[in-house]
């Protein structure tokens, strides 16, 4: 027998869907406002075009690697649009579309992958934590950020994005536990795209869902359709509002799918079949919202063309700006190790400068 409190922490048995794959509302629950739906659509279209452009730039050798998030636009855009300016976003390496949607310069989101530096953007400018490649470590940074906000009396919330693989890492569990104990204003959004590189969910998790992992930590949990932008946006917005109101953390599992391979270096054909991919393409988040908006007369050909044009211009700008040789300054290697370079680093900087001068002479 479960208590009311335990029940409130448990996710529903079936994922919350507000818009069916045909674009028709599936429940009587209220959808986001029309202008929000249109904005979700616009940002998803631009985000997808950005994603395909980045993939193309990788094939051209301009980026060392690019982890595509094609198919996961509803998660990335739906979540980011639920944040206020004072909130923080802690993304993973696969969340470049979320960053672009948050307003980060698209070329700066690619700096890490370009090889020029480890990070291109200023985390404080848009309140976006650094993208990094270890998994789940960002969950603890988000909880710390949220706890600090709580201690300082700020009304900001931290949203942390993680993948299904990251839920197997210890840091996710420590983060959920700390967040639960502290009732920290943090929202965990798991983008469950089915595979941790090649390892499927069946080898990753034995619980009824990843969302079920919240209850053990006293963290309220939701299971949602991650290809439904309305469901993602509504759920994250409510979780953020609850966190801001002092109601504590939420764990959201969004069921979605990574249409492309893990990165350009991966061969997804080795671990999944074409039928599976085709089935998921039928649940495409952009198509789904377009059907809905079109059927309601909110999206006509003119607006569709305008959004497409904006996406093309965005991609062209990214292409032009990334299609240049990056020449980072070697002297900067020593600048950001400590607040002030140590004596040893000053000496090594001098040595490198001599080597470079010698090579040029």
């Amino acid at each position: 027998m479960t208590t009311a409190r335990q029940r409130s922490l448990l996710p529903s048995d079936t994922p919350l869907t507000l818009l069916g794959t045909d674009g028709e509302p599936t429940t009587a629950e209220e959808l986001p406002a029309d202008e929000v739906l249109l904005e979700l659509h616009r940002r998803m279209v631009v985000g997808r075009r950005f994603d395909t452009q980045a993939t193309a730039l990788t094939k051209q050798g301009r980026l060392a690697v690019y982890p595509s998030s094609r198919g996961q636009e509803a998660c990335q855009v739906g979540a980011v649009l639920a944040l206020e300016e004072q909130d923080w976003l802690f993304p993973t390496y696969r969340d470049s579309v979320a960053l672009v949607s948050r307003g980060v310069d698209p070329v700066e989101t690619l700096t890490l992958l370009q090889g020029g530096w480890h990070l291109g953007y200023d985390p404080y400018e848009h309140r976006v934590g650094p993208q990094c490649t270890p998994l789940a470590t960002n969950t603890l940074h988000a909880v710390g950020m949220a706890r600090a906000a709580q201690l300082k009396g700020e009304d900001s919330v931290a949203l942390v994005l993680l993948g299904d693989g990251a839920t197997s890492e210890g840091d996710t569990h420590e983060a959920l536990n700390f967040a639960g104990v502290w009732q920290a204003p943090v929202v965990f959004l798991v983008q469950n795209n089915g595979y941790a590189i090649s390892v499927p969910m069946s080898k990753q998790n034995a619980a009824p869902s990843l969302a079920h992992k919240g209850i053990g930590y006293g963290v309220a949990s939701e299971l949602i359709d991650g290809n439904d932008p309305a469901a993602v946006h509504t759920t994250v917005r409510e979780a953020v509002a609850a966190a801001r109101a002092g109601a504590g953390p939420t764990l959201i599992e969004a069921l979605t799918y990574r249409v492309e391979a893990h990165t350009n270096a991966d061969d997804a054909n080795r671990y999944r079949d074409a039928d599976e991919v085709a089935a998921w393409l039928g649940k495409d988040p952009v198509d789904r919202l377009e059907r809905h908006l079109t059927s309601r007369g909110l999206l006509d050909d003119a607006r569709r063309a305008a959004v497409a044009e904006e996406a093309e211009a965005f991609a062209a700008s990214v292409r032009n700006r990334v299609n240049v040789d990056v020449e980072p300054d070697p002297a900067e290697l020593f600048t950001h190790v400590y607040a002030e370079p140590t004596a040893a680093l000053r000496e090594q900087a001098g040595l490198l400068a001599e080597e470079i001068a010698g090579a040029k002479s």
Binding site: P130, V143, G144, A149, V181, E332, V337, Y338
Partner: protein, 341 residues
């Protein structure tokens, strides 16, 4: 406004934390058992009662969680001072320390500053059971971006901890737990630098280089060495990273002989770095090879055997005796010659 008081190293650390909490609202103290219990070594005794749960608080038992959340808090403008309770208990936090705490300044090209202090009671000599006595310094000193500091005296415990908390860089603060109860005079002033070694005892014949728990042993050895006619200089490194080449090389150039002492295993140990640096800088001043006196290359032994593992006065004296005192190849240098790196 400083006064000299006699206090134990644990009391000096407690006073440093209290004074830092008093001086700066952004300073937080947290970790496992640091609240009402006051820490298993009572270093945080009374702080929760005095500063309240918002400033000094217990966390779940999870080291990666403690360091990882400290990183997020520091990103949001706070200055966390966290405790790892025991040396080997810090290993679950290793990824957060090396991949994030140490590197975020670098990864973000200086935009993210993480003024976090990680206090780790470390080393042996207290009869502790397994995983309670590791000397883990090289894991941290090998990581660029971290400062690694270890006080050898109550006075340095106070001064260096205050300076560590004030530092804009992350600091791994290694507290020699076997010295927690040793008392000495303490002038309550922050150290003016986190980067400098000090000459604890001047001498002419040989430089003994030590840090943390071995400083007292080195000083004891220096006293005993006078019976053998050796005038031993003792250098207390204090800062393991960055390394103070000037003080160490200056001393060794004067004495011409050097012995490095530490508790940790010798193979790939901190002494190897010190010996290499001395050789690179002082080769033509040396009368003998630089020797290391360290713990054996074994996992930290059980309590009833630790006395055999830990370097003591006799083992260090034996090393000094091996320093080729009869070697006439190197001519004597003028007395009082002082050179700097």
């Amino acid at each position: 406004m400083t006064t000299d008081e006699r206090m134990s190293m644990a009391a000096a650390l407690n006073r440093a934390l209290a004074d830092a909490l008093e001086a700066d609202d952004r300073v937080l103290v947290f970790g496992e058992d640091v609240g009402p219990l006051g820490g298993v070594f009572r270093v945080t005794d009374g702080l929760a009662a005095r500063f309240g749960e918002r400033r000094v608080f217990d966390t779940p038992l999870a080291e990666s969680g403690i360091v990882g959340t400290a990183i997020g808090m520091a990103m949001n403008g706070l200055r966390p001072v966290v405790e790892m309770q025991f040396d080997a208990f810090a290993y679950p936090a290793f990824e957060q320390i090396t991949s994030h705490l140490a590197k975020l300044r670098n990864r973000t090209r200086g935009r993210v500053e993480l003024p976090v202090v990680i206090r780790i009671p470390y080393g042996g000599g207290i009869g502790g059971v397994e995983h309670h006595c590791d000397s883990s310094e090289v894991y941290y000193t090998h990581t660029p971006g971290l400062r690694v500091v270890s006080p050898g005296t109550p006075e340095d415990a106070y001064g260096l901890l205050r300076a560590a908390i004030d530092s804009p860089d992350p600091v791994v603060f290694l507290e020699p737990k076997r010295r927690y109860w040793a008392k000495d005079a303490v002038s309550l002033a922050p150290a003016d630098s986190l980067d400098r070694a000090v000459i604890r005892r001047p001498g002419r014949d040989v430089t003994l280089i030590a840090y943390g728990p071995m400083v007292a042993t080195a000083l004891e050895t220096a006293e005993a060495a006078t019976d053998e006619g050796w005038d031993v200089e003792v250098v207390d490194l204090r800062s393991l990273s960055p390394f103070d080449d000037a003080t160490v090389a200056g001393s060794v150039r004067r004495t011409g002989r050097a012995v490095v002492v530490h508790e940790a295993s010798g193979f790939c140990g901190y002494g190897a770095e010190v010996a290499a640096r001395i050789t690179e800088r002082c080769f033509h001043h040396l009368h003998a090879p630089v020797l290391r006196v360290t713990g054996f290359d074994i996992p930290y032994p059980p309590p009833k055997l630790e006395e055999h593992h830990l370097p003591g006065v006799d083992r260090i004296l034996d090393a000094i005796a091996r320093l080729q005192w009869d070697d006439e190849v190197v001519p004597a240098r003028p007395a009082g010659e002082v050179q700097h790196a």
